[in-house]
Amino acid sequence: MRIAELINRTTLFDRILLVFMVFVTGAAIVLVPLCLPRGGQVRIEVDNKLLYKLPINEDKTIPIGGLVVEIRAGKVRVADSDCPGQICVKQGWIDSGAIICLPKRVVITVEGTAAVPKGIDATT
């Protein structure tokens, strides 16, 4: 039995439903990422220039001039740094906000995870 014959056995409503489902699926694929407030992305900027934009849920380790940035299990950290302060390394894993290494002029920001309302907005 050929595929064409199989398709001939479908009813009109089958086909309408199929078109409808394909349409909804397409719409969802296009629109859901748009609707979500920036899906979890890790931005790595050096000298205020965007170097990487990576999804936070893909595990990865990237060396950036003296720093080692590690993305794992929806979190990001600076695994190693050759800077004297080691502030960025001490900060550990984050899943929102930013890690900033001033001496290396590296800014690692996590976008898309909604701001936590009970946290601290800034530090003086």
């Binding site: 479908t10 409503f13 089958d14």
Partner: protein, 172 residues
């Protein structure tokens, strides 16, 4: 229940479990992502023998299947159970209005199976609408794809069954 009917249900349930076992051999990128080939059997049963029979073999399939794979009463079991019941109920409702063929029913079944699973996940395990929203396109896509494949498989099988029973009747 007549003995004959019991045998038939047992046979169909065995087929469904076989399908279920078979599809577990096919590797998929996401562990819980399945083709739902067992739905072919469920849908044939529903068309030929009605709601009760379809629900029975679905429940047997989920129960035995989960015991075979060691997930009995675990999260995948709850998800399958809710999804399976949703799917059978939705297909039965659609079948009763008599405008859909196997393809449409299969699409509806796949969709409601996923919907049921998501509801179970949401109600029992994680109250995170956001992650469910992220999954929605993937689930819709897979549901539509497997819905079409299974629907075509049902049409194919039904045609064969018809021919076979015609042959049987002709030879008698």
């Amino acid at each position: 229940m007549q003995q004959r009917e019991k045998y038939r249900l047992a046979l169909l349930a065995a087929c469904a479990i076989a399908m279920y076992g078979f599809e577990r051999l096919i590797p998929t990128p996401i562990p819980w992502l399945r083709f739902g080939f067992a739905n072919i059997i469920t849908l044939i049963t529903l068309t030929l023998y009605g709601f009760n029979a379809a629900l029975t073999i679905t429940l047997i399939r989920i129960l035995i299947g989960s015991m075979l794979t060691g997930t009995f009463l675990g999260p995948p079991f709850v998800m399958s159970l809710v999804g399976g019941v949703f799917s059978v109920a939705a297909m039965w409702a659609a079948f009763r209005i008599r405008v859909f063929g196997p393809l449409g029913l299969s699409l509806i079944g796949a969709f409601f199976h996923n919907l049921g699973q998501l509801l179970a996940v949401y109600a029992v395990f994680i109250q995170n609408l956001r992650s469910i929203l992220i999954l929605a396109p993937v689930i819709l896509f897979i549901g539509t794809l497997t819905g079409v494949l299974n629907g075509l498989a049902v049409i194919f099988t039904m045609e064969h069954l018809k021919k076979m029973s015609d042959n049987v009747q002709n030879t008698q």
